[in-house]
Symmetry: C2
Subunit: 255 residues, 2 copies
């Protein structure tokens, strides 16, 4: 299945990693050792004595759908890693409206901008579905980075990934129609949330219509009409937040 570049590779962090016996020992003590994203974790390079610091300031937190992980303009209190579920990053504007800027899936880091600039969050993080987030407290995270610069390198590489995605999003907005981008977005979401249903695929949308509209940069009314047009094309069906896609494989140029 073809994916829209501006959303990134949905499976980028879903990797199976083989472990040597030595690595297995290290993983036992490492707080991320149990995590399926261990190999790509920004904390993976932490070893030896520093693991204690990491373990000490490490905390897991379960979030219900709709719950807020951190508020906009709040002080950063650490580095958050999504372990399960789906986190939405949005900004609230002065006029009361808000814009959904990014989705963060398991394996992705959240709140690192505020952490690196040692300041306030410019976005709000909200769990869209039941989620689990692992946190490393700010003070200790700084200490760990001090002791182990390759953690910083991994953080930087996440930044690069995000800049790349932003660029793809800007390019997609300039070169692709809204209808096509909605189709791309839906197929991409289907990769995460979809399940087979006969010859179809089906999912429960984790996003409200207005969040979807934000991701495309259009008004909710326009989104509603885009959905109508997609449905008329016959590839998608919509029943509330249930979405069915008829073709399992759909080229980006097919719509």
């Amino acid at each position: 299945m073809a994916f829209p570049d501006w959303l990134g590779d949905p499976h980028a962090l879903r990797l199976i990693h083989r472990k040597t016996p030595m690595q297995k020992t290290a993983m036992k003590q490492h707080p991320c050792g149990q995590c399926s994203f261990y190999a790509d974790s920004v904390w993976q390079p932490v070893a030896d004595g520093t693991v204690c610091v990491l373990s000490h300031s490490f905390s897991r937190r379960d979030l219900d759908a709709g719950q807020i992980l951190f508020e906009q303009d709040s002080e950063n209190c650490g580095v958050f890693c999504v372990s399960k579920g789906l986190i939405a990053l949005r900004t609230h504007h002065a006029d009361g409206s808000s814009t959904l800027l990014r989705l963060a899936y398991p394996g992705e880091i959240v709140g690192f901008r505020a952490f690196l600039r040692n300041g306030q969050h410019r976005t709000e993080a909200q769990a869209l579905i039941a989620s689990r987030v692992c946190t490393v407290a700010r003070r200790d995270a700084h200490q760990i980075i001090q002791a182990n610069p390759s953690v910083l390198a991994r953080l930087a590489s996440r930044c690069i990934k995000e800049i790349d995605q932003n660029h793809e999003r800007i390019i997609a907005a300039a070169t692709t129609s809204n209808k096509q981008r909605l189709a791309d977005l839906l197929l991409w979401l289907m990769e995460h949330h979809g399940e087979p249903a006969g010859d179809h695929f089906r999912m429960h949308l984790p996003l409200s219509r207005s969040d979807l509209a934000d991701l495309l940069g259009v008004q909710p009314e326009t989104l509603s009409r885009l959905i109508g047009r997609l449905e008329k094309d016959g590839l998608f069906s919509f029943i509330g937040r249930m979405v069915l896609v008829r073709a399992q494989r759909m080229a980006r140029t097919a719509v």
Copy 2:
């Protein structure tokens, strides 16, 4: 004058720094010591023995208007710092069209994504006006970062800045009209390239119309009409690439 957030603060790096005698000595040996952006240079933390490595792999290059600094899909060969002029980062698409993604002014770093991912450039860098760029070769840059992690921290902070700007750009695109964003963009460019002319300000646009259109995410024909509408409003005048703005101070809500 009010600035559009999505373009960043045009004076962010124009700072006057006081120097202690000790700093003055360090600056004499430091290749960036003469640069007016020394205090904020990503290489500023480099000191002592490592300065030799830095100086050794340091090279300056002057570019004419229109000249290419690096090509898209070319291998990264170092970290580039804009010292003078204006660099445009654009991507070329398969269909022959291209999109201007970012402008880099003196003090800004260019090509660091390819450097950090140790791969190819995804954008092309072109000098829009006569420019000077300082380069630190890749191999040595990696060595310097290894020896001095705070350089990496500064690079990461540049990444954060770029992500912030991308976010502001996405928000601006979703909440502001194209006409308003063009006015914002012109005023922002005026800060860099404008000069007083009586009670007006005047500048020679460093960008073609189609580059301007790219920055707004519209077609060139639309840009031409937006310019016409701005001119009709009376705040701007256009004669080819010469732009006059009547009011020195113009609120973002004034258009």
